[in-house]
Symmetry: C2
Subunit: 316 residues, 2 copies
């Protein structure tokens, strides 16, 4: 399981996609360069450093030392990058799982990490950040981003439902109900057209990266969805925001909302197998339960209840 | 190796992409429905049947029986599809590797398969079709598609070179030469804008699916590239065509050329680390060597020589 994960992450294309996501990378750059006081002469731990860009930002911002931990083979390139940019005395690359490595120091002043997956929690890398925090962070030290939030919004996109679900009713003249069923349980990573939104967004999870624990990442939240437009509700769309705020002179918000500039995370959509009509002004009670899958702890099962409807989706 | 491959193929999204590729699927449908004489009362073997669409087409066209072999777990869905469409007496699904399965008959009249990968040969599934042919095809029987061709064409796309290669010279203020080197050896699956073409296409490989052997799939071809436009040559673009012709009343051509309707195979591009100027009317001698990688036999190493330049690319 783990090996396949790190194998794929070692590939150039993944780091290329992340670096070329300017919304993502510039948010971290802004946070670090515009809050140099947080980094100046501090010891920093970068959890899952990948290509090393956050460590380079931190070193450039005046960190006394950066420990950059990464399990994937990309670290061989990252080591070369650190040398090439003259930071070999400031950045120490450590190849291994954060859970296993022994860092050559007692504690760090702060942790930075870009751990977010699709639907915020897919791949569960936040678990590793929590482990790093509990092992290596000084009392009073901070984790950045320091908090994040997961939002849900109602979507009316009948053409999408037709293409993704009803497609299987007539595939070149044949019916494929088994694939229709499989299609209906998949959470999908897609760009949502903001004109399809038909509710106010509702907060389904807030995470404090400095104090929450792994246990908090399996959760059930009750909510009330306020409908703003009468239409057929076909999907729910989830997106996340992360916040760089604690002790910041310049706070930074990284948003993956459908009406914000696109990111490589896009949005996550959950398509109802049976869409239903909703009316502007209506409040629909619902709940969202998120739990890791036993067979594959990087995968998530998301059960959504809305009014009298319930459906379980997999992110895998 | 093999397990990861079949695991990923078991996922719905892969079959969804292939079925929704109408150029691909309708080419097979046209070939089968417009050449019913080839299928009527015949015993057919479908190698790597996936969702079962080719087997359903063959059964619908009057095949006496279809044996559909697939190693991926998608066969559980495919079995249900076959029953749902009333073909359980006509189509036998066999879960396993074609190299290992024992078919409950002596020989088949014809083989159909959609085995093509990126750059035609990526993933080497044609090897399995050849094995099936040598084990199970009657003397005089045919394999469809019965032949295919791999083409190369010169491309001038300075903006693409800038974005893919020179990007690494200044990544948010840092130089990443190791990632630049990694970027320069990757063959890339991308849609090529046909206005960027600056040579005539040149044939680099022709495969006769009825007579060629696995040995023919590692090859070196010399060619001469005829330049049609003076510009900077930044990439070579490879694309393939497959032909349904032998004994056909209606022949079918499935093309993945950049100036044809798009397919999920897109095109494969090889970006020169150092682009160079070419002149309309010029003939540039070159060669293309393609060989399987020892560590991962689904991966390919492609070495291209053009004039005095040589570069090796990986498809992995």
């Amino acid at each position: 399981e783990d090996e396949a994960y790190f194998d794929s992450y070692a590939q150039l294309s993944i780091h290329e996609v992340m670096l070329k996501d300017r919304v993502r990378t510039q948010s971290y750059q802004d946070f670090i360069y515009k809050n140099e006081h947080l980094f100046k002469d501090k010891v920093v731990l970068d959890v899952g450093c990948g290509s090393g860009i956050l460590s380079l930002f931190a070193a450039q911002a005046g960190a006394r030392h950066v420990f950059a931990v990464e399990q994937a083979d990309v670290v061989h390139w990252t080591r070369e990058t650190v040398r090439e940019n003259g930071f070999e005395d400031k950045i120490t690359i450590i190849h291994g799982r954060i859970e296993d490595v022994d860092l050559p120091m007692d504690k760090v002043d702060l942790i930075v990490s870009e751990w977010m997956g699709y639907f915020l929690l897919f791949e569960s890398m936040l678990d590793s950040v929590f482990t790093a925090r509990d092992c290596w962070l000084k009392p009073g030290g901070a984790v950045y981003p320091d908090s994040c939030a997961l939002w849900l919004v109602g979507i009316g996109n009948p053409a999408g439902h037709e293409a993704e679900i009803d497609f299987w009713n007539d595939v070149y003249g044949f019916r494929m109900s088994s694939l229709r069923r499989a299609a209906a349980i998949e959470g999908r990573v897609e760009m949502v057209n903001p004109t399809h939104i038909l509710s106010q967004p509702v907060l389904v999870k807030r995470i404090d990266c400095c104090t929450d624990t792994v246990r908090d990442l399996d959760f059930v939240t009750n909510f009330s969805l306020h409908i703003t437009r009468s239409a057929q509700l076909t999907d729910l769309c989830a997106y996340f925001e992360v916040y760089f705020e604690a002790n910041c002179e310049h706070t930074v918000l990284l948003s993956t909302a459908p009406d914000k500039p696109p990111t490589h995370w896009k949005q996550t959509i959950f398509i109802w197998e049976q869409p239903f009509d909703v009316t502007a002004g209506e409040e629909i009670c619902g709940s969202l339960a998120c739990c890791k899958q036993a067979q594959d702890p990087r995968a998530l099962a998301v059960t959504i209840t809305l009014g009298s409807k319930q459906q379980t989706f997999l992110l895998q």
